[in-house]
Structures are given as structure tokens and as C-alpha cells.
Amino acid sequence: MVTLQQLIFKLSEFWTSRGCLLQQPLDIEMGAGTMHPETFLRVLGPDHWSVAYVQPSRRPADGRFGENPNRLFKHHQFQVILKPAPDEVQQLYLQSLEACGIDLRAHDVRFEEDNWESPTLGAWGIGWQVLFDGQEITQFTYFQQAGGVDLSPISVELTYGLERFAMALQDVDNVFELEWGAGVKYRDVRHRDEVEQSRYAFGQIEMPAAELHALHRNLFDLYYGLAGTLLRSGLVLPALDYCLKCSHMFNLLDSSGGIGVTERMAYILRVRGLAVAIAKAWVGESRPPASAEAEA
């Protein structure tokens, strides 16, 4: 039995032994490990870089009050960035599965087309979902653009969905039944968090919906303004922090029903504008976004 924490050890061990630096999660809410500066910024520019880290990923709309056996407000990604993408990357990836105890001959592991795109980050890539007996356990992407910038060299991103991967390894049908560590279930560690975060995400709090929406909008605007100011001050990394805050506020507005369809697009474009400006500033084409300046 491979516990969730052992799985993290094994992946960390495997990838550090292949030359990856072991980084830590960013201490800010985000929807995916791609938004971590170790991915979003490091894939930009010419410098070679290899890194691995776990990133807790919050997706408010996926919250299910701890009642759904497969969906979570917050799940964990094990993120690997290899820049440039090695020729042997598929074999390396498959070896990492073997390192976690998978017998590749006894299972059906496949690379099926699934291109990745993040409109809020102005990022996209070509790749696959890796199916383990029909279950998606990893997103495998050759990045083509980030922050609207064409990348060269090309980085490869491997994103393991730790909960799903562990469920297959442990042969359990309910995420809350996973063994996190010996004798400690995922339920013991995370269930209360799922219930409470879901209630917040769906606006079940002591505040009328309209007021909550207004609060989130206000926070979005404040973070947005601050990100713009930081960017104008030439502080790229702090600016990214507040760009991520904006993105999270947008996700919360979305999950609590505070956003209409047309407005939705406008919010996405604002976050994207920030992300693009941050990417450009990082690679040296420093220029604050006109919109951020105007609205800040």
C-alpha cells in the first residue's frame, strides 16, 4: 500500500534523482500548479530549469461539501517542469510510474490527445492526458506559450493529480477513504476543510449574496490595482502574487453565482492582461498594462 505521503516522497525522490530542484508550494491560493512562479515564470526566457513541487490547488466551483467521492474544492498536484523538454521525457515519465509501484505490463497506460489551455494566463500547450486504465492521472503538456509569449526553448509540464493517482494505487472508490499516512485517512485530514470551504464557495454564509458578491468584486479590484502598482514599481514576483489573488477572487465570484456570462469574459481578460504584462516584465520587456494603470 502506497500512502498519499509516500507517493509524494517517491515522486520527489524520482525527480530529484533526475536533476530536478525540489521546490515548495506557493503560499497563495491558486487553481493549478501552473500558476506557481516556478512554472509560469521559469518557462519564459532562455534559461534551462528543472523543478518539482506539490501545489495544493483550489477550485471553488468543484467543491461538493465533502459529499462527492471524486470532487474536491482543493486537491493536490505534483508538478514537474523540465526545460528544455528532454527527448526521453515520455520514458522518464513512465519510469516515475514504475517508481511508484506500477507494473506497466499489467496495466493499460496511454497518452491520449488533450491540449491544455489557460485563458487567464494567456498560456497553452500541446499534449496528452495520461490514462491509467482509463483514469486520467497526469496532464502532460509541451508548453507553447505563457503570458502570451512564445516559448523557446520548449518546456514540458507533468502534472500528476495526486488524489486520483493514489485512489488507483490504493484501489479505493472514495477519495476520503485514501490513506494519507499509515492509519490516517484523507477524511481525517481534509474533510472538515472541504465542508467549510464549499459552504463559503457557494455563498452559504451569514451575509446576503449581493453583499458577498460586492465584497469579492471589491477585493478583486483592490488586488488588481495593487498588482498594477507593483508591476509599475518593477516588482514582478509580488505582482504575480496579487494577480493570483485576483484569479482566486474571480473563481469565488464564479462559484457563488456573482458573475454573468458577458461579465465573466471581461474578468478573464483583466486577469489575462495582468498575466501577460507580468510575463513580459519577467523576460525584460517591462511595460505595465495600460488598463491596469488606468484602473489602478
Binding site: N70, L94, L104, D108, F111, D133, S152, V261
Partner: protein, 728 residues
Amino acid sequence: MDRELLIEIGVEELPAAWLPGLTRQLGERLAARLKEYRLAPRAPIETYSTPRRLTVRLAKIAERQEDLEELVTGPPVSAAFNAAGEPTPAAVGFAKKQGVAVEDLGRASSSRGEYLTYLKRQRGRSALDTLPGVLGGVLRDLSFPKQMRWDATLDDGRGEFVFGRPIRWLLFLYGGRVVPFTVTRPPYAAGPLVQEVHSGALTYGHRFLATSGRAGRSIKVRSFDEYQARLKEHFVVLEHAERRDRIARDLEGHARRLGGRVALKEHQALIDEVADLVEFPGVVAGFFDPAFLGLPAEVLATTLVHHQHYFPVVSERGTLKEAFLAVVNTQPKDERPIARNAERVVTARLRDARFFWESDRRTPLESRLDRLHTLLFHKALGSYRDKAQRLETLAAWVASDAFGVPDAAGHAATAGRLAKADLTTDMVFEFPELQGTMGGIYAREEGRPEEVWKAIYHHYLPVAVEADAPPSSAALGPAAVTWGAVSLADKLDTVVGLLHAGERATGSRDPFGLRRQMHGIVRILMDLPELTGLDRELTIDSLASHAVQAFGATGEVAATVRGFALERVRYALEGRGFATELVRAVTATPDVSPLRARRVARALQGLRASEDFQALAVLFKRVKNIARELPEPADLDRDALTEPAERALLDALDARRPAVARAAAGADYTRALTEIAALRPVVDCFFTEVFVMADDARVRTARLTLMASLRDLILDLADISEIVPHTE
């Protein structure tokens, strides 16, 4: 001596949907490049593919390029020699440039006089020297639905080399020898982990399976036969057809053991797709909780088929069983470990679906309409709420006015109003391919009559123009008329609205699927009797000109719709096997009725070979040309026609016209055209005996008017001049 050419492009997994097209392209591009390089194939080009390889083989190909002969033209002979017959500097210069003496030059005459020439011969290079250029060209030529940058370059001066997926090896053999070829890597990426790809005599087997040793080791081959045999040993079935047939056999065998069957015919496309997802197919059976069988069959099938590429197992009676079959890229000794994981995924998805199924039904479709406000249809055309409102009115009008079935208008209006309501359900949000279908099912659950729920259920159909494109009249049952009204209304609203908003389908760009929408309209109208039992030869124009009113649109839009519709009707008729000239003949007028066009085309097809008809078709061209001389339409001045031949034509027209009209009114176009063909002798005689352009203006006008009325009689059915047999 002719030798074998074998190329295998080893790639990381290509999308299954691309393989058929890429395989075809590979053959075509290679043929084109070989032609360009003057290397003659002496055997057919064979192409193969799996997700990890694109392979092409030519059993025999020339050893050398064909020699090149080129005739180079020099100065005119008049300027090449002086009066004494000595070569001028112009002649000497030309000879020198070609590297020969003046005596070696030839002469050639053209319309402008005689010129000095030189026949330049270039000896063909060996195939081995030429083939790298061929492969380089082919690699550049292959086009992908989406291409990627992967830090690769080719040494052809064109810089970065984009492809569908990274290339990991190149097997490149000519007569068993390796043809040198290199994919280079730019300095900013190159290093110990990013290296050039050199062609070689190596291929690779299955990723995970090997009879001995570690899987994935390289295999050396010298010929195609050896290549195919070694791949087979290493668990790669090279031919798509063989993989597909194995899968079909395995599916049937597994289903039988489960006491059921797989609807192979219905799932033909899925079988073809999964055959391109694997190199060594096997089948694994999985099960789910029978309680999920309470979900609508459509939801179960979508979950299994569309999301997981699994095959549902049905009982002999055709009902779904609690089992599915998964095609996998291996033939495991023990199926259970794989099946367990597959079952986990299926169960999770079905559990979601059941949740949506239960929660969606708590909100009736009618009370979902307001939520459609938040869904934008098109920025110039408003939300889906606006569209629903237009559909309600238009569907009712189609039923009562266009179809002439006022009794169906009420149901059509209801179905039109509710048709888009399912866009707000969780089920459709999660399974977008179920839109329409889900709305129909929810309407049924609400107790709506069959005329309403089936109209909603099928209203996205048809999406193709073929005579057997779904839905069938059997599937529609008593809902056929309301379905026709709602489906037409939806498509008319979309096409007319989007064209009004300035959207167009151009070339390969058709982001709103306008062609598909128009195909739906054409198919319904063309097969209206078969689909709905209504025999009405409706024109697209008459429907569109009503639909434009909802947008306050102008006649300009109507004209755009007409042109677009005409093009699609022609496409549909050609798709049904009618010759191009027949199609042109029956679509000569812009306000075309697809049904009438289809029927007249059928009739013409039967008659066109008859001698009278052929002769009349030739004469008709003259009729059309001469009738054009009539300055303005006039009433026929009968008294001005006195010659026996013109009287005979006039009498024949008077006699036949009612019969033609009667036959056409009864949609008996064979009869109508036969009546017309019978005019041939009098028309023939008229042209022999009568000079139309008489000096007397009155006589001339009368004769031209006679020609015009003959033209109009025939043109009302078809422009038969289009089917004049070509004499050359």
C-alpha cells in the same frame, strides 16, 4: 536496378483522429515530391500508421533520377551570324555561356522567327543522394490540425521545423541501406538531453510488451517484410484494418461470454477511432451497479462511448446491460486489475450523471427560460432567451403556414419555446453533446406529449444532407411535423440571423457551422415527404424571407441566403449521385425548392438519353439565346404569326402547356418533361423554316415573344441546355 524505399517516422502519440488523414497525406506528399525530384515509383505507394509511427513503403523505385533535358533559347539566327556567315558576338556569347562551341548549337523556329538553341542535358543523380531532399520536403509538407514547436530545425534553410508531435526516430532505408537524414536542434535547446535525430535502420516495438528483455529496445531491420514481421513479434499490429478487425472480433467474443452483444454497426466510428489509439489491441470487460440502468440510455451511452471510448453491452432485446467493454493497448493475462480501474472511472461519471439527472428534474423546462438570458447566442442577435422567443413564433408559422398543418402549430410553438431550455441544465453543461436530447427527455419526464418532446429531442438533426442522415421517420413517429417545424425554425433563425449579423462561411473557415445548418434545412426540405408525410415543394427563399422579418433584415440578406442555399442544394444533389450538369440544369433559378429539384433531376436522369430530348436540349440553347433579343416582355401577338412552321409551334405550345402544367402540379416531372420533349419536331421545323429576326418589327416581336414563352415553359422545370452532350 529498382529498389525498395521504406520510411518510418517514429513519433510520440499522435491523436487518433488525425491518423486517417495523415496516412493519406503521407502517400500523396511523397508521390508529389518524388515527381518533383524525378524519381519514378515502379510500384504503388503503401502507407501505414499507428499512434507512434507513420510508415510509407514503395516496393520499387528507380535507382537514379530521370535525366533532365531542357531546351535553352539563344539569340535569333538573324542576329547570330553576319553577312559572311560568321558568328556574331551574340552567338559566341551564348555558346560560351552554355559551355559549348557555336557549331554545337541547334536551331528552332517559332512564330517570331528562327533562334539558336542549346539542348541542355543533366544526368540524374542517384536515388540515395536525392532521397534526403524528398523526405525533407515530405516532412515540411505534412499538415496537421494543430502543429507544435518542439525545438527542432531542418537543414533546408527554412529554419524552425514544426510538426504534429515530436519525432523520436526515423527509419529511412533505400534498398536496405540507410539514407542519411538529420533533424537538427537549435543551440538554445541542444545538449545531452536534447539531441539530433539521425535516420537509421532502427525501429521500436510496443512501449510495454516484449517477449524477452526490456520492452522498447530498438530493432534493426533491412526491408519492409522484415520490418512488419519484427513489429508483429514486438506487439505492434501495423495495419489499421487488422487492428480494427481484431477489436471487432474480441468485442463480439467478450459480449457473447457476458450473454449479450455489441452493436458493432452503430459503433463503427468508435471502432475505427480506438483502432488508432492502440498498437496491440485487446478487450477488457467491466461492470457497474445495475442501479445506474435507471438513467436514460442516452446518458449511459454518452458516458461510456463519448467520454471513455467504451462499448456498451446490450442484451439480445437491445436493452443496456450493466457491463461495458474497454479496448486496451495490451492483452493482459489478468483483466481484473485494469477492469477495476476502468470501473472506478465509469462509476464516478455515472454517479455525477445521476446527481444531475435528479437535480435537473427539480426545475421544469418552462421555468428555466429566464436563465437563458445569461447565455449569449450571438452578440448582435441577443441571448438564447431571445432566440427561444423567435423560435416559438417561427416554428408555429412553419407548421401552420409553410406546412399547412395549423393543428400542429400549438405543439410546434411549445417545442420551439422549450427547445433551448436544456442549455441551463447541469447534465448538458457536463455532457454538451446531449443538448436537445436531454431537453427532449426532460420534456418527456414532465409529461409533455410525444409531438412536443420528440420535436425537442431531435431538433438539432439533421446535420447532414444524405438521404439516410438521421432522424428517420420511424424515430420521429407522430412528432414528424412538429419536429420538422422546430428543426427548420431553429436552423433558419441561425442561418438568417448570422448572415444578417455579417457572419460568413468562407473556405475552410466556418466558425458558426453555417454550412451544417444549411445542410439541415436542405435535407428536411428535400426529403419532406419521406420525413414528415407532407408533400410540399417549399423553396428555401419563401421560408427565409419570412424568417428575416424577426431581425428587421433587408432584401440584401435574403439574396445572400438565396445564394448560400443554392450552393448547398447543389452540393446535396451531387452528393446523391446526380451528374454536375443535371444539378446545374435543375438549379437554374435562384428560388430553388430542394424537393422539386431532386424530383426533376431524377426525371431528367431517366429521359436525358432519349433522342428527342437530346435534340431539344441542343435547340433550347438557341431558344434561350434568341429570346434574349426581346427588348421587353410583351403579350404574344398571335395574329402576327402566319408562317405554317410558327403556327405549328404556337399550336403545339397551346396544346402541350396545360398537360405540362397538370403533370408538374402532380409532381409527375417525367410526364411533364416527356410532353416537352414531344415539342422537338415543331421547334426543329421552326428554326429551319422561320427567320426570327424579321425586318418587320411587329413580326419580329411576335416571334421573339413566342421564343420567350417556349423558354419560360421549359425553364420552369429545368435549364435543359445544361445537359447538351459534349461533342468533343
